[in-house]
Amino acid sequence: MKTTIPILVSVVLLGCGKGSPEVVVYVALDREFAQPVLDRFTQVTGIVVRAKFDTESTKSVALRELITREASHPRCDVFWNNEVLNTIRLARANLLERHRPADADAYPAESRSADDAWHGLAGRARVLLINVDQMRDTPIPTSFEDLSLPAWRGRVGMAKPLFGTTATHIACLYAERGARNAKKLLERLRDNGLVILSGNKQAAVEVGAGRLAAALTDTDDALAEIRARRRVRIIYLPLSPSRPAPLVIPNTVALIKGCPHPEQGRRLIDFLLSAQTETVLAEGSGAQIPLRTSLRDRFPKEIPPMDDVLGFPFEKAADQWDGAMSDVKSTFAAP
C-alpha cells in the first residue's frame, strides 16, 4: 500500500492517456469555433487532440511566445493561429517544419509560404463596425484619417493593439504607410480619444449597445452583433488610399519542428485544410471567409462582398512587427 499510492499518483500526474495516439495543438482561434472541428478530427481518425487555447487578452502572441520558449523541447505538434504574422515570425525563427498537404493546390498561392512552412485557410476581414443610430449627424468614415477628426472624439474603439488580429492590423498599416506615417496616425487616433478595450468582441459589443459610435473589429465579432439584431453596419476601411481592398487575415496552420507527434500533426493539418473544414468554419457562427476558390459561394451573406480576398503582402508586414509593437507600447500602453 505504501508504494502503491506514489506509483498511482505518478501515473496520474505524468502518464495518463499515453496509450492512444494523440496530437497536441495550440489554437488561437476561439474555442467555440475550433473545438467542433477538432472533435470531428478525433471522430474520423481516432487521434486524441490535446488542445491549448489562449484568451482574448493575449491572443496568438502568447502561444507564439510559448512555442518559442519550448523550442528546445517542443510539446506542440500543430499551431493553429487565427492570424498570419506570428506564424511567419515562427517560420523566420526556423521553428516550423515543412509540410505540403494533398489539398494545398486548392488554395491560392498567396495563402501559404513559398517553402510550405505554413498554410492559410478561412479568414476574417478587419472592419469598422458602426452604430447606425449614432451616424445620423455624422458622415460615415471612409478612411483612418476620418476617425481622427473632432466629430469622432472619444467615440471610436479598438481592442488592445498588442495582440491578435488588431496587432496584425497595425503591423499591416505600418507596412502599407511606412513606419513614420503609421505612428503619426496612431498618435492622432490616441489624441482623439481612441478607446482601448480588452478584445475585439468587447469592441463590437460596445458599438452594438450604442456606447461607441464605431470600432475596429473582426467580421466574426461584427456578425455576432448583426445576428443579435443590433443596429450596426459593417464598413471596410482601406489601409491606404492606394489599397482599397479590405484586409482579410487568414487562419494559418503549421507543423512545429521537432514535435513529438509529427505524423499525427501532418494528418491534423491535412484535415484542417480540407474543403469540409473550411465549409464548417464558413457556415458556423464564426462565419469565416473561405479562401478556396471552389468555396467562394459559401461567402457569408451578411458580409459585404469583396473582390480581392488575399492580396496583402504579409511577409512585408512581418518585417514591421517589432517596430510597430514598440510604437504601440509607447503610444497606448500607459496605465
Binding site: R50, S57, V195, K201, E206
Partner: protein
Amino acid sequence: MGRRHERREIHVRRPMTSPPSQRDRSQYMGGRPWIDGDRLFSFAIAVVAILFVVLPALAPLTSALDQAGWQEMGDDVGRLASLTGSTALLVAMVEWIGLGPAALIGYVIARSLSRTRRFAKGVCLGMGSIPLVLISGGWLGAIGQDGWWPCDGVERGEPRAWLMVALIHATASLPWSALMIATLLEREPTGPLDAVRALGPRGIQRLALLWSELRAPLVPAALWLAYGVLTEMSVTDLFAVRSLAEEVYTQFESGGGAKGAILSCLPLAALFSLALLWIGCRSGRLMVTSEAFSNRSSRFQSTLVSWIGVVTMAAMTLPLTGLLWQLGLTVGAGGVTTWSARVARHYLVQEISQGRLIAETVWLALLCAAVATTAGFLISWRISQRPGLVPGLLIVAMAWNAAIPSPVLGVSVIDALNHPSAPLGLALLYDSVLPLLWARVARLTPLVCLLFAITFARMPRTSLESLQTLGLSARRQAWLLFVGPWRGTAILAFLLAALLAGGELPIAKLLAPPGLETWSMRLFHLLHTGTGNEQAAFGWAMLITWALMGAATSLVARWWTARAADRKPR
C-alpha cells in the same frame, strides 16, 4: 523566570522524543536502523518546507534580479512607477470601499448569540467560496451591456471602471474579511469594554469604543483585501484597468518586459510581507492574552449595525442576480431582451453535462488542497516544536510567499524549469501538471500555516507537553495532533485550499499543460467572448459543484468527528 524554567523542562524531556545524536548513534546500530522513522520524518518536513516555501520564495528573486531585469526596469521606469502607483491606488480604493462593511458585518457576527454567529459564519464561508472570476462575470451580467442594470463606460478603463474593479474586489473579499474580524473580535477581551458600555456612553464616545475594539482585527482584513488586488488579474483585465499583476502576465505572454514588472512588484510585496509578519507576532500575543478573558460578560446588538450588515450582505448577491439574469436571457425581434426559464434550463443542463471539465477542475483542486494541507500542517507542527532561527526564516519565507502576486509565481516557476540543459525540468514543465500543482501549493501553504498557527496559539502549552511526556515518536505526536485538536483546522484548511485552488486563474493560465482546462480558465475565456448564457450557466455549474464539494467535506468532517468521539474513553 517562568519561561526559563519552562525551557529547562523541555530540555530535560527532549531525549525521550528527539532523534539520536551522533554520540548515541552506536546504541541504535544494533537494534534499530541508522535512519529511524523520526529522522526520516524530520527530513521529509525539511524537503516539504524547501519545496513549497523556500524555493518558491526565492524563485522570483532569481528570475528577475539580474542585469536584464534592472535594464528593463530602467528603460521603462516611468510607466512601471505609474503602474505601481495605480496598483497602490487600487488597493487603497478597495480598502476604502471594503473595510467599513467588513468591519460592521464582522462586529455584528462577533457580538451575536452563539447560534446566529455559527449561521452567519457559515454564510460567510459559503459566500467567500465563490471564485473571483465568477463574481466578475456576475457583475458584468448585472451591469454590462445586457444586464438588468446597465451602466455606461464600466468596461473601458474609465474612472467608473476603476470604481467597478475596486467594488468587485471589495465584494469578493468581504466574506473572508468579515469572518476574520468576527473571529478575532470573539477572542478580544470584552469584559472591561462591557463595563464601560454599561455606563452608557453615547455618540463620539461609542464610536471611539467601537474603533478601539475593531482596530486590531481590521489589520488582517485589510491585508486580505490587498492580497486579492495584488494577486489577481481577471477583474482588471475585463475592465481594462492596468495593475502590476496583470502587467506581469501580459508582458510575459507577449514576450518581453516581465522582469521589469516583476521587480516593480517586489517593493509592494516586501511591504505586504512585513505587515504579515507584524500581524503574526501581534496576533500571537493577542491569543495569549485572550485566554485570560474566556468568559464574556454580555453581548450587545445594535439594530442599526445589524441592518447595515444585512444590506451589505444583500449587496453581495448582486453578482448572483447578474448570473441568473444572463442565464435565461434571449434577444427577440428588434433587439428586445426577455428572460426565459426554458433557455436557462437548456444552458444549465448543457454545461453541467460537461463532466470532464468538472472532474478535471475538482480533482486538481482536491489534490492541491490535500498537498497544501499536509505541507502546511507539517511545517506548522515543526515550527511549533522548535522555535529558533531556521523556523524564523521559514516564517519570513512564508510571509514573502503569500505576498508576491500569483502571476509572478507562475512566471518564476516557468523560468526555474525552462532550461534546455535540464531535460527533466522541461519534461515536467511541458508534459505534466506538477508545475501547476507546485505553484498552487506554494501559494496555499502559507495560508494553511496561518490557520494552523492560529489553532496552535489557542492551544494550551500543556497539551503539547503531555504528548512529549508520553515518550511518543515525533510522527506519532504529529498524527495525534492532526486527528485530535488540529482536526477542525485541517478540515477548514482543506476546504479553503480546495476552493481557492479551484477558482484560481493566473497560475492555471500560465502553467496548465495542453488538454487541461480549468473552470476559471474556461469562464475567463467565456467572459471575453461574451457568450452570456453559456457564461452564466457555467457559473451556476461551478457554484453547484462548489456547494456539493462543501457539503461532502462537511459530511466527511462530521463522520470523522463522530468516529473520533466514539474512540474516546468514556
